[in-house]
């Protein structure tokens, strides 16, 4: 259920980092609404992954708040956030390679009643038939794209309100990345709020509703994804593109 302001996630003035007194984020604020896809972009070292890890509970927060459905979860441990509606898909090590695909999915439902978890797995097998046909195989044999699908499916077991994707297309072929973004759009269509951190800024913004540009741990620019895509300055200043070329056309 969304908060009074309608935001599933609202991060306010967040100061966070891996080492005490050495913050990476210096007062970052973002929000994500129900059914919305929001992408965080920015140069290397901007604090994108730190932000998503802070929301997942994996980075210590020294100031600011993280509200999920209006409730501040800053002091909630990472494992409890999973039960409160946050699904997190890490950039690396996002599937358990020595476990079978089915076991990976069961793990996603570790906090659910067994019968409910099994029903959810069968629903997810209907949505992602590639996982069902290979359910007895070790997850380690899957391709990069299939691993991401498995990781996302596992995060969906508990029907989270918010799903956090850290560099979901890293290492994927353009075709696999396109398939993954199609899957992400389907999620938002089902009402899930999606927050993505992505190096592949163009593809991510094309599939997003809104975007934030971070630099040096601070908010720089935010707005509708199509506006950011058309902005020449963003491509040139923050993402190393050629001057006078909007981000939208750089790829061509």
């Amino acid at each position: 259920m969304a908060s009074a302001a309608g935001h599933i996630l609202q991060v306010k003035d967040l100061v966070a980092g891996y080492i005490r007194d050495l913050p990476i984020l210096h007062g970052v604020s973002v929000y994500v609404d129900r059914g919305e896809i929001v992408t965080i972009i920015g140069p290397n070292g901007a604090g994108k992954s730190t932000l998503i890890k802070a929301v997942a509970g994996l980075v210590s927060v020294s100031q600011g708040s993280i509200e999920l459905n209006g409730k501040n979860i800053v002091n909630v441990p990472a494992y409890q956030r999973a039960t409160q509606g946050v699904g997190y898909v890490p950039q690396t090590g996002n599937v358990f390679t020595t476990l079978s695909i089915h076991e990976n999915l069961i793990m996603g439902g570790a906090s659910l009643h067994r019968g409910k978890a099994e029903r959810r797995i069968e629903e997810l097998y209907e949505i992602y038939p590639v996982l069902k046909s290979r359910r007895r195989e070790k997850a380690g044999v899957l391709s990069g794209g299939q691993r991401q699908i498995l990781a996302v499916a596992r995060a969906l077991l508990t029907q989270p309100d918010l799903i956090l994707l850290d560099e979901p297309t890293a290492g994927l072929s353009p075709k696999a990345a396109a398939e993954l973004f199609a899957l992400i759009r389907d999620l938002s269509g089902d009402g899930v709020a999606v927050l993505i951190v992505e190096q592949n800024a163009k593809a991510a913004l094309r599939n997003s509703d809104r975007g934030y540009v971070l630099a040096e741990g601070e908010n720089r620019i935010d707005g509708a994804a199509h506006t950011l895509l058309a902005d020449k300055e963003i491509g040139e200043i923050f993402l190393g593109m050629r001057r006078d070329t909007p981000l939208e056309k750089e790829e061509a």
């Binding site: 997942a56 509970g57 994996l58 441990p77 990472a78 494992y79 409890q80 999973a82 039960t83 946050v86 699904g87 997190y88 898909v89 890490p90 090590g93 996002n94 599937v95 358990f96 390679t97 020595t98 476990l99 079978s100 089915h102 076991e103 069961i106 793990m107 996603g108 570790a110 906090s111 067994r114 099994e118 797995i121 069968e122 097998y125 069902k132 046909s133 359910r135 007895r136 070790k138 995060a155 508990t158």
Partner: protein
């Protein structure tokens, strides 16, 4: 012939006693990825607890309660578990080689305490006269050892079945998830730190049981039984047999203990007497070579981890 049978019984008893400790280490390392380099310390705690609870009373030494064998076993597991809980809480933020260094240091500390705290442990002389429960139940050494072998097989089987059930349960899947990636497992709704601690305690309880059986069988305990070489042997048993496979853990115990005892026999009968004093070092080198060869040629061990398919996955149509 009787001599060979007697020796075989003796050999199987010690192999299985060590096998129980290897099962404990397998739960910690094989299934959870906890690098416990202090195995000897926890076996030692179990052994001394057994000796103090069941041994005869002595002047100026604590214990000698002469309690029944079963109470000694339970006590050894409980005390090892409590010690593991304390160590686990202190080291809960340590992983991989950091945990290994910490647990190694703790095991050395335990051995030094056993060596120097005479009131509790008897110091360098250790504690003697620990009763063997089969002495009153069977006539003659062979029958008594055969009966003790039955006890060890029973307890080994119980430990094996218990750990097999544990690792195939949802809790066991969490162990493997933590082993694979603790960050990813923290997004599954369960507290990885708590589950790691539980696995550490359970594994150390198995090690305590192993120590208790060892001291009951041998009849005495001394600090020299729990040197770091014992940790090294238990680890080699697990690596040779196959990490994350309980059958592999027991097989490794049989093979490595077999190599150890055979090499001792060869050294005492073949090696010239003037260099037999170095026999222990030769055995340690041999075990080290086996470990290196296994890691190079067959890092999974003789029986590696098996893929498990849940009943639910099998029941779904292809």
């Amino acid at each position: 012939m009787i001599g060979l049978v007697s020796y075989l019984v003796f050999f199987l008893i010690l192999s299985l006693i060590f096998g129980i400790a290897v099962l404990g280490l397998n739960l910690q390392w094989g299934f959870t990825g906890l690098f416990n380099a202090g195995v000897a310390g926890f076996i030692g705690i179990g052994a001394y607890t057994m000796a103090i609870l069941t041994g005869p009373s002595r002047d100026a030494v604590f214990g000698g309660f002469e309690l029944p064998f079963v109470i000694g076993l339970i006590g050894a597991m409980v005390v090892s578990g409590i010690a593991a809980l304390a160590v686990g809480i202190v080291t809960h933020k340590l992983k991989h080689e950091y945990l290994a260094v910490a647990t190694f240091g703790i095991a050395v500390t335990i051995q030094l305490v056993c060596l120097n705290w005479e009131y509790l442990t008897g110091g360098t002389l250790g504690l003697i006269g620990i009763p063997n429960p089969t002495k009153d139940l069977a006539e003659g050494p062979l029958a008594q050892n055969a009966l003790f072998l039955c006890i060890v097989i029973s307890l080994g089987l119980i430990t094996f079945i218990a750990i097999e059930n544990i690792v195939k349960s949802p809790w066991g899947r969490m162990l493997k998830a933590i082993r694979e990636d603790e960050i990813a497992s923290s997004s599954l709704g369960k507290d990885p730190a708590r589950i790691r601690l539980e696995a550490f305690v359970l594994g150390c309880m198995a090690m305590g049981l192993s120590g208790a059986l060892y001291v009951s069988f041998i009849g005495y305990v001394s600090p020299w039984d729990f040197l770091p070489i014992l940790t090294f042997q238990i680890w080699t048993m697990l690596i040779v047999g196959g990490s994350a496979n309980n059958r592999g853990a027991l097989l490794g115990a049989l093979i490595v203990w077999g190599v150890w005892t055979m090499s001792g026999y060869v050294i005492s009968n073949v090696v010239p007497s003037e260099i037999q004093a170095q026999g222990g070092a030769m055995q340690a080198i041999l075990i080290g070579l086996i470990l290196v060869v296994m890691l190079l040629l067959r890092p999974r061990g003789l029986i590696g981890e098996e893929l498990q398919v849940s009943r639910h996955a099998r029941s779904l149509n292809d």
